[in-house]
């Protein structure tokens, strides 16, 4: 375990490389409610970032701003060199580069596993159907459920559904993957199968932003951990330092609650 963590620490965060996401001075309100306050964040290509924090701190809102599921009111978000504006063309371009995995899977219940996976490539990327199916099978194998290709989501277990959701996002060949609490709707015995898939993905060099409370995963995989509270980034550090020596009072309280 500690070996593993050391391995990843050894690779080090690819600081100074190309920037995948650049967020500066981001502010967002829901009506009068100030959800995100002056967020600054640079994510480098290939970096794995875990975001944690108490409920309602704005973690989901932050990553949903990156692919415009939420609109921000002030500040700049640049994804893969494209700045997010209200220009629909740009938004669609960014969404094609950014895959997202949701807490509640959000699979399309009227389509089979395979159709869930080919929908994006065929309709958003105009890929021929046969090629999309080959691609989908490849990714279903990677998330270890090729045998479920012709079942409907309603016939799968929670862990299987989430792995299909990951495969579906990967089929778009995204440069960045966003995960919003991918394991928190799962029964405990299914959490591991999903985390394993995510760990594999991290090893392959994917840029990942993961909102999660799975601290074991964070320790093993993350290059950086970001702690958010009340719409702000309170603390940000490499995992070892983050767990060994949390600087901020709130971080300590939070870690105390979650690790106990």
């Amino acid at each position: 375990m500690s070996n593993n963590a050391a391995d990843h620490g050894g690779q080090g965060a690819p600081r100074g490389g190309d920037i995948a996401i650049e967020i500066s001075g981001l502010n967002k309100w829901f009506g009068d409610f100030h959800v995100l306050k002056d967020i600054d964040l640079k994510v480098y290509k290939g970096e794995r970032i875990v975001i944690c924090g108490p409920s309602g701190s704005g973690k989901s809102t932050l990553i949903r701003c990156i692919n415009r599921l939420e609109e921000h009111q002030r500040g700049r978000i640049v994804v893969e060199g494209i700045e997010l504006t209200s220009d629909l063309k740009r938004i669609e371009n960014i969404r094609r580069e950014v895959g997202m995995v949701f807490q509640h899977f959000n699979l399309f219940p009227h389509l089979t596993t395979l159709e869930n996976c080919t929908l994006g490539p065929v309709w958003a990327r105009n890929m021929p159907k046969a090629r999309a199916e080959a691609l989908a099978m490849e990714y279903l194998e990677r998330v270890r459920i090729p045998e479920q290709a012709n079942k409907y989501p309603g016939q799968l277990s929670g862990g299987q559904r989430q792995r299909v959701a990951i495969a579906r996002a990967l089929c778009m060949n995204p440069k960045i993957m966003l995960f919003d609490e991918p394991t928190s709707a799962l029964d405990p015995e299914m959490v591991k199968e999903v985390l394993d898939v995510m760990t594999d993905l991290a090893r392959s060099g994917m840029t990942m932003l993961v909102v999660t409370h799975e601290m074991g995963f964070a320790r093993e995989v993350a290059d950086r951990i970001i702690f958010m509270d009340e719409g702000q980034i309170v603390e940000e550090n490499e995992p070892e330092a983050f767990f060994a020596d949390p600087r901020h009072e709130r971080t300590r309280t939070f870690l105390g609650q979650i690790l106990s």
Partner: protein, 379 residues
């Protein structure tokens, strides 16, 4: 020291036995469902008696006392001292008229051909196991309407023209109902989407349209379209009466359809939209591929309900002087050759049977589709 108890372990599996006689099979079913206690038994007997009391006179009238053959009213007049039954001979004699209205007899093959084309297109579409749905639907949506128009209306090639004023009977009923159904579903979907649109102008227009058409009775719509509209149109502008009725019926049912579809749209969770957006699908693709297939499936019963309502509402075209099935039947009462006491009762029974057949068919088919879609997608 108490003796140590060994855990219980079964050494052989118990064999299965057939169920007791009264627990399964038709007898078991009767006992379980109809005669499970004295109160249920009493209810069952009472219902059986009620069914008998209602059905017996009907069977007597429609089958036992019925007159099946005859050349004119003489056959159907009640003989002395006994009541007469249904006058099926009269239905038989007027059958062509009931089906085709006043469509010229020599041209009726055109109507038959249209019926055949429709059945040929519709039956394979309705059967899920038949392949080639895409071409089939294309035929129904693109080829069939043109073919039906040319065949029924004529004036093309060597086909003589048949004015819509001569159309009637079941054929007219089906023309109104089917074009109403075919137009109201897509229109209703568009209106429902419009009502939920993010664009205020589109939303407002949809709301106004829907609420206007839902607010007026169909009979008013038809009446205004045939009486008032011509007053506003400039002289010499001819606007076919049937066409006006078709438009009225289509818009009217589109408004109802829109509300049914909207109910389905509201049931689709936000996560579905978000997942589609996250994949980079635009609005129309999201609607077409993700939202509508699920929403429409949810509201199949409501959609079919609207279709059935529309089918029966077609009888209202009578008010503007179009003779649909019911209209042509009523018109035939004026024929002195067949005047007899049971003439109208027989004819209405016939009409009720025809309407019931179509509506019941639609209802059963929707149940079948619902069940099939559910089986497909659930474990």
């Amino acid at each position: 020291m108490a003796p140590r108890r060994r855990p219980y372990v079964r050494s052989a599996m118990a064999p299965s036995q057939p169920p007791p006689m009264l627990a399964s099979g038709p007898l078991g079913w009767l006992r379980r469902n109809l005669f499970s206690n004295w109160w249920n038994s009493a209810l069952t007997l009472a219902c059986l008696y009620l069914i008998y009391a209602l059905a017996a006179p009907l069977v007597q009238f429609a089958l036992i006392d019925a007159v099946w053959q005859g050349a004119d009213r003489e056959a159907c007049l009640p003989a002395k001292g006994q009541g007469a039954g249904a006058c099926w001979a009269y239905i038989h004699a007027k059958f062509g008229q009931f089906i085709y209205g006043r469509y010229p007899a020599a041209e009726r093959w055109r109507v038959d051909l249209v019926f055949l084309l429709l059945a040929g297109g519709l039956i394979p579409v309705a059967m899920p196991s038949v392949p080639g749905k895409r071409w089939n639907v294309l035929f129904l949506l693109a080829v069939f309407p043109v073919a039906a128009y040319i065949l029924l209306f004529g004036g093309w090639f060597t086909l003589p023209r048949v004015e819509t004023a001569r159309w009637g009977g079941l054929m007219l009923t089906l023309v109104v109902a089917i074009s109403g159904i075919a137009a109201s579903l897509p229109l209703g979907v568009l209106l429902a989407l419009g009502r939920r649109s993010a664009l205020p102008a589109v939303r407002l227009a949809s709301i106004v349209f829907i609420e206007f058409w839902r607010g007026v009775p169909l009979i008013t719509v038809l009446f205004m379209s045939s009486v008032l509209l011509p007053l506003f149109l400039p002289d010499g502008v001819h606007f076919d009466k049937l066409l006006r009725a078709l438009i009225g019926v289509a818009l009217f049912s589109a408004a109802y359809m829109a509300e049914v579809v909207r109910g389905g749209l509201q049931a689709i969770p936000r996560g579905q939209y978000e997942a589609a957006m996250a994949l980079g699908l635009g609005y129309w693709k999201t609607m077409r591929l993700i939202v509508l297939p699920q929403a429409l499936k949810l509201v199949i019963p409501g959609i079919v309900n609207t279709f059935i309502g529309l089918f029966k509402d077609t009888t209202l075209v009578l008010i503007i002087g179009l003779f649909d099935l019911l209209g042509i039947i009523q018109l035939s009462f004026t024929d002195p050759k067949w005047a007899s006491p049971n003439q109208s009762l027989t004819a209405y029974l016939f009409a009720a049977g025809v309407y019931w057949l179509f509506c019941f068919g639609m209802s059963r088919y929707s149940l079948f589709m619902e069940r099939r879609l559910n089986v497909e997608q659930r474990s």
